[in-house]
Every structure is written in C-alpha cells, then in structure tokens.
Symmetry: D2
Amino acid sequence: MRASSKLFIPAILFLSAGWFAGLHFAAGQNEGAAAIKGWKRGVGWGWIWGRDDEVGSLNAMTDQSRAGSLKLATQGKVYDLGISYSRRSYKWPGHSPGEIISFRSPGGIGAQKEAVVDAKLNPSRTRWHSNALFINDSVATQIDGLGHITAGDDQHWYNGFKEADWGGDFGILKCDTVSIPPIVARGVLLDIAAARNVDELPAHYGISPADVDAALMRQNTKLQPGDVVLIRTGTLRHWGSDGDNHAKLGEHDSAGITLDTAKYLVEQHGAMLIASDTSGLEVNPAPAGSDSFIPVHKYLLVEQGVHIGEFHYLEDLARDKIYEFCYVCAVNKISGAVAGFTLRPLALK
Amino acid sequence: MRASSKLFIPAILFLSAGWFAGLHFAAGQNEGAAAIKGWKRGVGWGWIWGRDDEVGSLNAMTDQSRAGSLKLATQGKVYDLGISYSRRSYKWPGHSPGEIISFRSPGGIGAQKEAVVDAKLNPSRTRWHSNALFINDSVATQIDGLGHITAGDDQHWYNGFKEADWGGDFGILKCDTVSIPPIVARGVLLDIAAARNVDELPAHYGISPADVDAALMRQNTKLQPGDVVLIRTGTLRHWGSDGDNHAKLGEHDSAGITLDTAKYLVEQHGAMLIASDTSGLEVNPAPAGSDSFIPVHKYLLVEQGVHIGEFHYLEDLARDKIYEFCYVCAVNKISGAVAGFTLRPLALK
Amino acid sequence: MRASSKLFIPAILFLSAGWFAGLHFAAGQNEGAAAIKGWKRGVGWGWIWGRDDEVGSLNAMTDQSRAGSLKLATQGKVYDLGISYSRRSYKWPGHSPGEIISFRSPGGIGAQKEAVVDAKLNPSRTRWHSNALFINDSVATQIDGLGHITAGDDQHWYNGFKEADWGGDFGILKCDTVSIPPIVARGVLLDIAAARNVDELPAHYGISPADVDAALMRQNTKLQPGDVVLIRTGTLRHWGSDGDNHAKLGEHDSAGITLDTAKYLVEQHGAMLIASDTSGLEVNPAPAGSDSFIPVHKYLLVEQGVHIGEFHYLEDLARDKIYEFCYVCAVNKISGAVAGFTLRPLALK
Amino acid sequence: MRASSKLFIPAILFLSAGWFAGLHFAAGQNEGAAAIKGWKRGVGWGWIWGRDDEVGSLNAMTDQSRAGSLKLATQGKVYDLGISYSRRSYKWPGHSPGEIISFRSPGGIGAQKEAVVDAKLNPSRTRWHSNALFINDSVATQIDGLGHITAGDDQHWYNGFKEADWGGDFGILKCDTVSIPPIVARGVLLDIAAARNVDELPAHYGISPADVDAALMRQNTKLQPGDVVLIRTGTLRHWGSDGDNHAKLGEHDSAGITLDTAKYLVEQHGAMLIASDTSGLEVNPAPAGSDSFIPVHKYLLVEQGVHIGEFHYLEDLARDKIYEFCYVCAVNKISGAVAGFTLRPLALK
C-alpha cells in the first residue's frame, strides 16, 4: 500500500490494444531465431501434442534444451527455492489442513510391546521414527499439474479430459503429477518488486506486461522460448521459518500477474512454465469482468497446457542478482496427485 | 534362490579379516589424492561436524564438488530414479498406510453450494481439484534422514540427539528433512545383479565387499570420496506401475548390503550417501550375531552420519550402462519429517 | 462349510412363490392389532414421509413406542453390542484403512517446548494425551445411513436425493448420520446359528425366511412392527480383542440374509431396522440374477428407508438366551458421515 | 461480561474455609442413607478399585443402580445431548483439525473403472458412499477417559499408569475408551445460568459450590451418590448447526467449575461423572496459585478416577425444566482412544 505512490505510471499507458503488436516485434528481435518444439509466437502452446497428451508445454524439453540449460551452471552454486512447511504454514483456505504426526517413536515402540522386532535380535535396542502425514497436495512450494483446474459444465481440464471420465476417488486419472517429467530448463528471475523499487508488492497489485518489460530492462535479461519464468513479488520475505505470519503473508500474497501478462509471457515470449513467490501466481481478486475467479489458472493450465509454479522462494536469487540459471525440479511421484507440493526446486548457477 | 547356483564362489573367499587391509591399499591407488572435507580413510565420517550439526557427511559438498559433478552431465539426458506411489504400493510394514483422496472436486464443489467462490464472478464455472493425502514419510523413493533411527536406552540418534530432548509430537526437532541440503554430487551405479549375472538378486542375498569390487571391475568404474553410491539388486524390475505385486517385491526386497559392505564403502571409499533399489538397503534379516535388527541403518545413520537412499529406480541406468553421472536430489521440505519420500532423484548425463 | 451337513433341509422347501401368502396370514395373527406409524403389511415402509424426509422408517418411533420398549428393561442389565476397533481390525476392503495415532503425548509436549502451557502456571507438569484418528465412517459396529448406497445412472439414494445435488466433498448433504435420531425400540434377537444347531453359519450361507421362522419358533419369540431385528450368524465368535483374524472372520462374514428375507422381515413383520453380526448383513456374493451386487442394501436403504446395523456383537445375548430387550443406539453426530461407526448399541434388560 | 452486574454477590461470601464443614452436614441430610460402592463422604473415590483397574468411579454402577435410573424414564421422551460436528466446529486448539472427506463416491467409483464390482453382476449400477475421517478423539460431545491427563515427571495417569510403560504409538494401553463401560445412571442437570438469571455465564466465570447449592435450591433437586451431574453454563446456545461461531463460543466456553466445586461434588455429593456444556468443564484460566493449568482435570481424572463429560447439549433439558432423568452414554469402542467423541449421550425421561 505504502509503495503505491512509487508506481511507474507511464508504464500503464502501454496497456492498450496496440501495445502487444509493438512488443511482438521487439520480442522477436530479442529472441532471435531460437526454434522450440510446438510453440508459435502469437499463439503460445495449447492442445497441440496429441489427444492423449498429459504433459503440455513441457513436451518442448529435449536433450539439447536441457544440455543448454545445464551450461548455465558453472560455479556449482545451488539455490534452494523451497520453503519449509509445518502445521502452522500459511496456505490457500480451499485446501485441507496439515499435520506431521509422530507415528512410530522409540518410546511408543517400547510401550507397544509388539513383536515387530525380536528383542533378542536387537541388543542395541535400535528403534525408529516414522511420521504419518495428513497433508494436502497443494501446499508450500508447488507445481500445479494440468488437471488442477476444470472449466465449464463438462468440467474438463487440459486437453479435454472430463471429470465424468477421469475424476476418480483417488485423485485424477489424467495429468496427475506422475505425468509431469523432471524439469531441467533455463530459468529466468523477473524481480518485479525490485523493478518497482519496493521491498514487496502491495496487496492486490496486478503485475502488467509493462512491469515485465521494466524488470527485463532493469536486469538486462532477455527471455527465450522454453524458459521457466520466475516472478518475484517479495511476499516470501515474510515466510520466516514456517510461514506462520498469516496476516502479513495473506496481505502480499494477493499480488500477482494479470491475464494479459500471462498471455504476454506465453504468446510473445514462449514461457514454458511460470512461477512466482505467492500461493496463486495471479492477482487476487481477479479484475472485474473476468470470466473466472482465477482466469490465469484457467488460461495457463486448461487452455495452454502450461504448468504453474507457486511459493517459489526467490529471495536469495534476488539478493545475489542471479537472473539466469538452470532450473531443476522433479515433483513427488504420487498417482492421482494434482500438484507437486513441499518441493525444493533448485536454481543451479 | 534359483539364482544361487550362479554365485561367484571365489569372491566369498575374500571375506576374511585380512581382506580389508589389502583392499585399503588398492583403493588408495584408485582414488589418488582427491581430498574431501571431513572424510578419513579407515574411519569414514562420524560426529565430526560440531555438536549442533544435523547434516552429517553431506557437509562435504562444496561449490567445487558440485561443479565437478555437473560436468558429468553433457548430453542433457535425464534419468528419473523415482517410482510411482499409490495406495497399493509395497512398503515396509512398520509404516502407516497411504491414501490419496479427492478432497475437492468439481462435482463436490457444486453440490457443496458453498460461498468460497461467488458464481457471478465465475461465469466459466472454473472449479478445482485438491487431494488430501494420508501418507507416511517413509514410502516409495526415499532419503532417510539422520534422525530416522535411534539406538540405546537413551534413544539417541546422529550426533547424540536424544528422544527426551528432541523427539516431538510433530516429528523430530533435530535432523528433520528440512536440514537435508539439496544433493548434487557424482553418482556411481554399482550393478551387482549384472555382476552376478542374474536378473535380480535372490531373496536374503547379502551383498559383500567382494561383490562391490566385482561390479567395479566389470564396469570399469572407480569410486571417489564424496560419491553417491547406488547399489542395484534388480528388485524394482517388479515395481510395475505402482508396486502392487507385494509377493514378488517382498521376495527380492530382502537382498541388500551387509554391515561389512557399508563399512567398506564408507571407510575405504568415502561414500557420502548409499542408496539402493530396495526398501531398506541392507540384507534382511540381519546376520546372526548382529547388534541390531538393522545394523547397516544404525551404522550409517547414527554412527557415521551418512544418509541412506531407498527404492531408487536403477533399471534405465543399468539398461543403458550408465555408471557415472550427476546425481541430483532435493527432499520434501517438511518440518519434522524423518525422511524424504515419493522422491524423484535425477541422474543427469 | 463343515457345518453344511447339518442344514435343516425341509426348511428350504418353503421357499416357493406361494409361501409368502401363507405366512402373511400367520404373521398377521402373531402381531395382533399393533398399529404403527407408516407401515403397511405387504408393502413395508418406502418413500412415504414427505419429499424432504431423511429419516425413513425411524419416523415410526414415538414417545409411546419408546416407553413401551423401556419397560423391557427391568433388571438393569446392560449388554454391550459393540466390538473393539483397532488398526488391525477386519473390515470390508472398499473402505479406507485406519490408524489411531498418538497426536499429543506427555513426552512430545515436553520436547516440543511450545508455549501452549506456561510452565510457571503448571508446577505439577500436567500434560495430556490426544489422538489423531484416520478412520473410515463404515468400520466396526455400524448403523448404515440412508445415503450409504446409490442406485441407477442418476445415482440417487433414499427419497430420490441425487449425487449431483447432494453428494458433497465433505460427505453427503442429505441423510447423513446427524439426521439419524437416537434409536430406542424393542429389540429382538433371531439366533439363526442356534436354530440351525451350528456354532456359526457356514461361508456364503443365505438366511431364508424359513430360517427366520425356525428361529422364532425355537425361541418362542414373536416379531412386532417397529422392531429392531438382530440376526445372529455367530461370526463374531471370532472377533477376539480386535478382529485381527481376517481369514476366519472373512469366511463366516459372507453368511447373511437373502433379499427374500429382507422383504419378509420388512413387508410381513414391519422390521424398522435390521442388524446382524456381520459386516454386510446380506449373503455374499449376491445370488445369480440379482439386479445388484448388494441387493439387500439397495432394497432396505434406498427403496424402503430402513437402516441397516452391522457387526453387532450378539454372543452375550445368545449365551444368556435374551431374545427380547430394549435396544438403544445413538450414532456419532458427524455432518456428512454416511454411517455410524465404532458404536456400542446397548441391549437393556 | 455484560451479565456480570447480575452476579449473586452474597454467594461468593460462602467461599471460606469453614464453608465445606457446614455444607457437609446439610448434604448428608439431603442424601439420606443411600449406600454406593466405593464412595466415602469427605474422600470421594480415588485409587480404590485394585491396581489393575481402568474404570474408576464407574465401577460403582450395578444392575440395581441402573434399574433404578431407568425407572426415571417413564414417558419415552429422549433428549439428545450431542452437538453436530463438522470441519468448521469450535474445539480446543491443542487437538488436531478435522476433515470428513468423501472417500468413495458414485461418480468416482465409475471413473476409477476398478474391478471391485463386476458390472455384469450389478445391472442397477448400485454404488456406495464411504468417508475417510481425519478426526481427533477429543472433539464435540466427549467423555474424557482416565488416561487423558498425566501429572508429574513420571507422567502418570489414573491408578499410577506411567507413560514409559503404557503410552503407546497407537494411543494409550491403559484406560482407553474400550475400558469405559456403558453408562446408565441417574442424571441431574444443574442449571447454573438459570440460577444466576443469565442466558449464559460470562467469560471466565468460576462456578462455586455456592452456585451449585443455589441451583439445587432453585430447582428443588437433590444430588445422590452415583449421579451423573450435568452443569449448564449456557455456552451451547451459540453452537448453531455446527459450532462455527468460534468467537462467541470461545468467549463463554471459558466459564466452568472451580477445583473447590469439583471437590464439593465428588467428596460431599458422590458425583460419579461430571459433565458440562463447555469444551473443558473447568473455569479457564485456572485461578492464580493452582498447581496445574487444568487443576480440575488433574483432580477428577488422575486423582479421583472420575470421568469428565464435555460439550453436552443441555438447552432442551433446561427449556423443559427436566432436572432428573436417566443418563445413557456408550462411547466409541476404539482401542487406544483417550476420549469418546462426537457422542450423543441421551437423557431419557
């Protein structure tokens, strides 16, 4: 809120119908002739990978693209983009609560007096810890799968998979997280908060295409088709050890990209995955007149087949001014899960 | 069992008291002068990193070591070492069962008639999937944390942390998985099954130091201090889509390394992490006279501070004869968890 | 199986089309002029209680009927009809597994070092136990609610409530267990095993109307409209402390009533609730030609609005030859739950 | 708070050291010569039932006492003393959250395409609902078991059972709810709010022995040894459909009995079980100088072996001025559970 007087007003003027066309050309110059599987400028990705496809834009990865991104990691530095999750952690209220519960413990095993381990075979009294987790598959650092969101009365998700056919009791039967391949790609940080000269974006701030351009210019970074684009709002400055400051996090968590910006990144720049340091990537609430309460999710996941990253911790990268790196993330391999959760994506430099 | 006639009998003859001393010298030649933080030949690692340390041998990683390992990944190939987990998956019976449960669903959200989303702001009827998981933190592809196992009447784990002080209700308060740093290191596959010329090792087969040497010789591979060593028994040939063949998996899952082999890998070769394609790494049951029902766990986790990897899928690496690569794994970042679970470690080549 | 040679063969001969008609008359004589709300001989109950009704035949209870049943309890004896449930207990495989997990414990509270309780205000170091349960709402001693079962492509349950309208994410929105009133009624035990002169009925034994009559005659008992009818197979002789003998329980658990018997009890005798000492009341598998894999459930719950009781422990009543008593049961009051579970119905005498 | 001006000030004057002695005599007159197993005036109950006992004061129930209490139920009226529990319900923050989750559903079973039910044997397409519950054993209407609370550094509960011996991983191994017998006893409502002429007691109001006497006098009721005593604060006027008004409930929920009152009821009047319409029975916070943050729990459960009832819904009884009745409650039969939960105790009149 206090930062709003610093808004770079002229940038907003670009938000006209003709603006995309102009940028189109400039972007083309930036990105040269880099060819990438599937993507078309002005169109993005979409349902182009075959009627059984569950992978979406991540199909664009090749040995060549991965090898190229790994060349960005020459120093052996690793940035951990995950945040620590506990029972107290802030999350979107539409998900279930979480508990990490000591299931087996050295004391309990002793009291239980059970025959799992014969005492005679265990003179050192070796015992074990094991936890039962009651946890939601959409908490802490996440990659949203392409089945996370449905649209329309037929309740379809990416590639037309419908709830009546593929919405099982044990999670979803198409586009679960098992179908998300390991992601190894060029990552680019867009430090929007820094470009706006604030510690963190104010509540409900909608990140515009002009904000993207301002960050690219400030950082002297160029986007390339196939990039993993990481958007920094600064919200996770307030995560602390486990995200228990719900009031503060909730305030800034409402900043995020607009639908125009999602389209700009995908259709003009070829973003393969878009992530941010908030729980939902997009500005909340959706602007009046949106066709959905979460139009960016609907556009990226359902229409474009572009995965979304959430709650990526970008503070260390921003502090060290690391804007280009090799992004590596492999989601939990759980049948039916709709999102990778409690992840640690890595930025290798 | 049926494979036992193929056992390479002479190898067993090496298992004498004098054998280690001889190997010591040979290993020294193999590994040259490579210095690595903390490790001493003949001793291994241990409680050497300070009284508050929760990291163990993984402290040996440096920018230099990581950069070196990343140079092994020149082709952009990625091997996914994770197995898919479902409610039906085989697991150790000492852990809790698992359910992936559709928590929010497009149909249920409609019937629930709740006010989370105002219908007027959602003309596209965008809805969402979210799953509640009841899951154990020690299932599917795992990295055991250093607090997984306790020993003695004071119920202590690595570095002397005691249950009475640090065994909380919400998991453990020292050496939880949050404290496990991202692992980027040279990985080496030891294909023991191939060295023994079997599809998979027979039930209860104890992998000896001689088996390790035979595999190294067959592969023409050399171990280096700081390696992630992956031991292939072939058990996961039977995982299928989600590990529902409990009888077959249970049979071969009982093959694994002996305590001698664990000591050989750590004290003579400097293994920083030892993993296999079984649920428990070590041969089961423990040999008669062991001081624990799981002596390898006690030795590696409690005494040496060496993490254990379990249920790593090594079939693709074995098929392609990839024995040296960059191993990358980042465990779930969950406070109190004793192990990373449902992981996808990556072998980059 | 071994008991099958003892079957009272002539009883089976009664199972002809004309048999019901004959019994109709006899039953009418037995029951005299007892009027009860809603029930019609030859028809039973059904969707007669109004379009919003969620209670079904239990609407028949009145102050008068309850007072009458309480008069059966003159001695102050209480029979506990519940069985003990644990993580090991036998259950139908279509339900989720169960864990009782020590959530808060004196030791864990100490280690957790949390501020819930100020040590200065707690010199006696009072601490507490609290368990987290992961449990299914259809385990151990149960009363099935009227929304437990759906039929047809519109997935409707009792009174025409449809899944699309009332099948929420948090259980069902019509006919959940909150809508089941406390049950206080005359209870009658039908000891079928005793009537057949066996310890327990053999596997897959279908209890016929003639078996019912034989038991009534042997016991010199008469049924009245509005009764809670308890059918003893003897299966729970094998429950032990917590039902861990799955093989033995699974064998006899398959005995139960046929659809003819359900109709006989409801349409000729006015049973208000039918319970047994098995997990599913009805014979399993359903006879060839049934229109459902569980035709008795479909008939009682969906069509007649008659609740079903399961896993009622009837051994003590049978031993003491108590055939008529006051049955009292009040199910858990959980919104959305489809069944009362881990109950202790009482037989007061 | 607003009600505090109505406090009956003179009552407080009775709270002197000499008051108990005077009341002692009066109480003796009230209760006549009624003998009851185990109880001694001035002492109460205690660890008197044998070193293995897990039942406590409920041992006092006999066929005779139950038959006597059942004679109070002549009209066939049933009062349901349970409150409805949902995921939104108010609870003590030291317990785990709750979810009722649709585990199997007609639509999900169809999408899952599984072989549990052969479609050919199920032409009516009968399907089922089953819920998975993640729930705490100390929520909604409860009976606290005698192992709920521990005291001292040896962490012992009733009868000296110690955590090191009996505190298992799967709940407690002594005094779990399986050991709580069905309760059938004379119940007496003490409407303290009515006696104080308020709708509900103000926050943090400590109910004194004089309040008890004032209620007895107003109601013209007499207590007898072996009674279930129900204390009404009026808090549950605000429960509504499922207790989602946490602010309002939290305010009044802090009213409750003092330790003096607990002692008065047990030692002078022979209460066998004390319950109220709050989550914790006792005034919160405990008065300065208490030896525990919950001294009434420690006294009743640990020292006296008297069970505690919580969140009993007393509004209907109060409205109808029913002060004496037959109380019937049978807790869930779950091994290891420390409390009965989501119960429906009944008041039969």
